[in-house]
């Protein structure tokens, strides 16, 4: 029974050891941020940070990250009080359907933590493993660059 540290809080989760982290976060902890997109580690919609590193939660068992610091989209800010990075997405209107935003924002957070002033090319390269079907790519890149500037 893994003990998960999510967004600064510890949770004793009664699930099988091999339960995917994504389903534990979504269904047991009732977090909306990480999304099911493919279950194959191909699209990035499920991305969370584990000890600051972007991780695809759909192919990560909850047990394997027990005790580590897990950060989800909710851990960055709230709808009423978004983080600077989240606010940049709102300011740039960087979405259409917004389903990919969780993964994109979490990956961008990891980028900005290590590279506070990325070039546009670095932002694109970091996000290249995240799929967006609506074509909000350029707005998303602008939002990340805005967050790095402000």
């Amino acid at each position: 029974m893994p003990i998960l540290k999510v967004n600064g809080q510890s949770h004793n989760v009664a699930v099988a050891d091999d339960a995917p982290l994504l389903f534990v976060l979504r269904n047991d902890l009732k977090l909306n941020g990480p999304k099911f997109g493919c279950g194959l580690s191909q699209c990035g919609a499920c991305t969370v940070l584990v000890d600051g590193q972007p991780v695809r939660s759909c192919v990560t068992s909850a047990d394997s990250v027990a005790g580590q610091e897990i950060t989800t989209l909710e851990g960055l800010g709230t709808t009423d009080k978004p983080s600077k990075l989240q606010q940049a997405f709102i300011d740039e209107q960087a979405a259409q359907c917004g389903y990919c935003l969780n993964g994109v924002i979490m990956r961008a957070k990891a980028l900005l933590d290590t590279t506070p002033k990325p070039t546009e090319g670095e932002v694109r390269a970091a996000l290249d493993g995240h799929l967006c079907r609506c074509g909000a790519h350029n707005r998303i890149v602008r939002a990340v660059l805005r967050a790095s500037r402000d």
Binding site: N27, C38, T79, A95, C97, Y99, G129
Partner: protein, 739 residues
């Protein structure tokens, strides 16, 4: 924005005093004069209270049948309502797509939500405002013209005030719209035409509860489907006894070849579905077309021929040359990022309630009712946002499947989410097409007769109130047959959308060769036939311009009479720097134009590409787009839609083709069906020509066609080789260059 409206709460807050009231006495209009025609969907749902309720707590509820697909439509409706009703947007609460509560606005599709829904919201709001003004005039004893309104508070010159919430005590809005209330002139609009931030983005950027996947009703169970391996496969055997005993499994539902499993936890449902798949035996069809043979298959089928335009050149000019070309489009996926999901609950009252991200809640609900053999009044669909769909994807099928599963376990909410494999393999695709173009030319290279013939399967198999359009209904022990598809909507509308060129050629003939069967499952995909038809028309005219040694912009303008069309074409060329552009080895420029459906948004796209001749890789360097979408409610929202269309169309044209054969669809994930990624997306600039006094024109699909064609034309410009079959993969381009 609340996700799902509870009906009891809703009725409690809307009031019910029986006051009969009509501001506009129709007898005053005069017997000879016809009543004004109500705009858009107000025509079919004229009662104002169907659209608007003045609610307790200083709120106004807006009820709409059109739904949010990530296109920002609910924000646009808010802008329209806020302006015409003179209230701040924060007062507006929207209920959208709940079949028990909102007006039936048909399908949210075809870039028509502003043209049909927007105009209705606008007029209904203006009518309600006039009624409220009149109520205030009576209450305050002042003539309506002397009153002013600010955020729902009506003031008289002497300082006396009345608010909307005091004035509406009962059924004052339960009257039909008169069509006489005037909408505000441009100068008085505060929100329409401004870039109001989208209402849904804050929740989406922060993990708020907004998607259908975020619904977690008490006692909810999780389900997964076990779909057949291929089209028309029949389930021969299933060894479910052991699987029934797997941890967490609540129920396995089998009906003919329909198999689904319900479990306590999501991962348990997935494990049980996988075990069922392993234990299942299927009979596959012996023969059938494949993605490799589909274009020959299209040309070999019996067709229904529709002569949608036939006006030959009557000048008597003798052609000096005849040019012909053939164009091919593969099947494309909608390929949503979030697999289709629905929740279903069979209530104690016998009502099947389905939360769905369907574009057609009413028609899908009716189709599901037929499939379940239930009274349509006992099936309630509630729209909740899903991931972007871009047309008819798996949304309706998953709703139908969850209803079959939920029926087997009354009282428990069941959530079914498709796997990535389910979505890729089972959604209806955009149909493959073959288009043949022919032109006769005079000795200067000018066009005399233009002929276009197109071959396509259906682009419209939406539920349409018929169970036979639902995927699971085909698999049942007593199956429903897929209805024979029709090329609905009249000429230039579905398979032949944009098949008629907007150019004024001396002669033009267009024939649709419509195929009533399917090689792969197909239905409405962003732009329908327009994508391939514009690809071929704009590619062919580019080809003819090159033959005539004419500039592609100038050559098009010879035949383009519509001033708004000319304006976007010249604007896109100017934005691109068309006249200043100089050729470099390996680089090329291309331009293309279309007016979507020939009645909607005008869009021209110009782009520059680099082609690596060694690898065959095409790289798009930059894209410029000029568009005219009529009056703009949200310029930024319009740009977002146009840009999204450009990127999706680049992805289709460069990379995408569904692969399948008789054993099944082989494009089953993002590796076997890759799409454009962040490092491949070029810089895009968009300029809009605002027409504040012109009707709204939907922009969601306007750039699909011109983008694909401009890309093809740019590749030709760079390589001197014309590619007429999509997608332009490195392998195809390399082969074409060395041929």
């Amino acid at each position: 924005m609340n996700i799902v409206t509870n009906r009891r709460h809703f009725l409690k807050t809307t009031g019910s005093l029986a006051v009969s009231f009509s501001l506009f006495d129709m007898s005053l209009v005069g017997a000879q004069q016809a009543a004004p025609v109500l705009p858009g969907d107000l025509k079919t749902s004229p009662k104002l209270s169907s659209w608007l309720r003045i609610e307790a707590g200083g709120k106004v509820r807006l009820l709409v049948g059109k739904v949010e697909l990530g296109q920002g439509i609910l924000t646009a409706f808010t802008q329209l309502c806020a302006d015409e009703l003179d209230i701040e947007p924060a007062r507006i609460v929207i209920t959208s797509g709940d079949t028990f509560l909102v007006p039936d606005e048909g399908v949210t599709a075809g870039s028509q939500s502003l043209s049909y829904g927007g105009v209705a919201v606008r007029q209904a709001s203006a009518e309600a405002r006039a009624i409220l003004l009149d109520l205030a005039a009576k209450k305050l004893g002042v003539e309506p013209e002397k009153l002013t309104i600010k955020d729902g508070t009506i003031s008289a010159p002497d300082g006396k005030k009345a608010t909307y919430w005091e004035l509406v005590t009962g059924k004052e809005l339960e009257v039909p719209a008169s069509g006489l209330a005037k909408i505000k002139p441009t100068a008085e609009r505060r929100y329409i035409g401004q870039n109001m931030p989208r209402l849904d983005i804050p929740a989406k950027a922060t993990g708020g509860q907004i998607f259908i996947q975020d619904l977690r009703p008490e006692g909810m169970l999780h389900a997964r489907m076990v779909h057949p391996p291929a089209y028309n496969a029949k389930l021969l055997g299933l060894d479910s006894a052991k699987i029934e005993k797997m941890r967490g499994v609540v129920k396995i539902v089998r009906d003919g070849s329909f198999v689904g499993v319900i479990a306590e936890r999501e991962e348990q449902a997935i494990a049980a579905a996988e075990a069922l798949r392993q234990s299942s035996q299927w009979e596959l069809p012996a023969t059938g077309p494949s993605s490799e043979t589909v274009h020959d298959w299209l040309l070999a089928q019996k067709t229904k021929d529709l002569f949608i335009k036939d006006s030959p050149d009557k000048s008597g000019a003798v052609p000096a040359n005849t040019v012909e070309a053939t164009w091919r489009r593969p099947y494309h996926m909608h390929a949503t990022i979030g697999p289709s999901t629905a929740l279903g609950t069979l209530g104690a009252d016998g009502v099947m309630t389905i939360q769905t991200h369907s574009q057609s809640v009413f028609e899908t609900g009716a189709a599901i009712a037929q499939m379940l053999d239930m009274d349509v009044a006992k099936v309630r669909c509630q729209h909740v946002q899903g991931a972007g769909c871009y047309g008819h994807n798996g949304a309706d099928d998953v709703a139908a499947e969850v209803a079959l599963l939920a029926r087997a376990i009354p009282g428990r909410p069941v959530r079914l989410q498709w796997s990535r494999n389910d979505e890729h393999k089972w959604e209806p695709y955009g149909s493959a097409m073959v288009i043949k173009t022919k032109a006769t030319l005079d000795n200067k290279g000018d066009i005399l007769d233009w002929t276009l013939d197109l071959w396509s399967t259906s682009h419209g198999t939406r539920p349409g109130k018929k169970a036979g359009n639902l995927l699971p209904a085909w698999m049942l022990e007593k199956p429903f047959e897929l209805p024979t598809p029709i090329n609905n909507g009249g000429p230039n509308y579905a398979a032949d959308r944009n098949g008629i060129a907007l150019y004024d050629f001396p002669g033009q003939k267009v024939t649709t060769h419509f195929i009533e069967t399917f090689a792969a499952r197909a239905s409405s995909t962003r732009g329908l036939g327009a994508y391939a038809n514009v690809f071929s028309i704009e590619g062919f005219i580019d080809e003819l311009a090159a033959r005539a040694k004419a500039d592609p912009v100038e050559y098009r303008l010879r035949y383009l009479k519509d001033e708004r069309a000319r304006a976007v074409l010249t604007k896109a060329a100017e934005m691109f720097g068309w006249d200043k552009w100089t050729a470099e080895p390996g680089k090329g420029r291309g331009i293309a134009f279309a007016r979507y459906k020939n009645i909607s948004t005008y869009a021209a796209v110009a782009m520059e590409v680099a082609v690596d001749k060694a690898s065959g890789k095409v790289r798009v360097l930059r894209v410029c787009c000029a568009a005219d979408a009529g009056e703009l409610v949200s310029p930024d929202g319009t740009k977002n839609q146009l840009e999204g269309g450009i990127i999706q169309s680049l992805s289709w044209t460069l990379k995408e083709a569904v692969r399948f054969d008789v054993r099944g669809v082989k494009s089953e994930d993002w590796t076997s069906y890759p799409i454009l990624t962040f490092t491949e997306v070029p810089p895009i600039t968009i300029e809009l020509i605002d027409r504040p006094t012109a009707p709204f024109l939907g922009a969601g699909e306007a750039t699909q066609g011109p983008t694909g064609a401009a890309l093809a034309n740019a590749v030709f410009n760079a390589t001197n080789v014309r590619f007429r079959e999509m997608p332009f993969t490195p392998a195809r381009v390399k082969a074409g260059l060395s041929a």
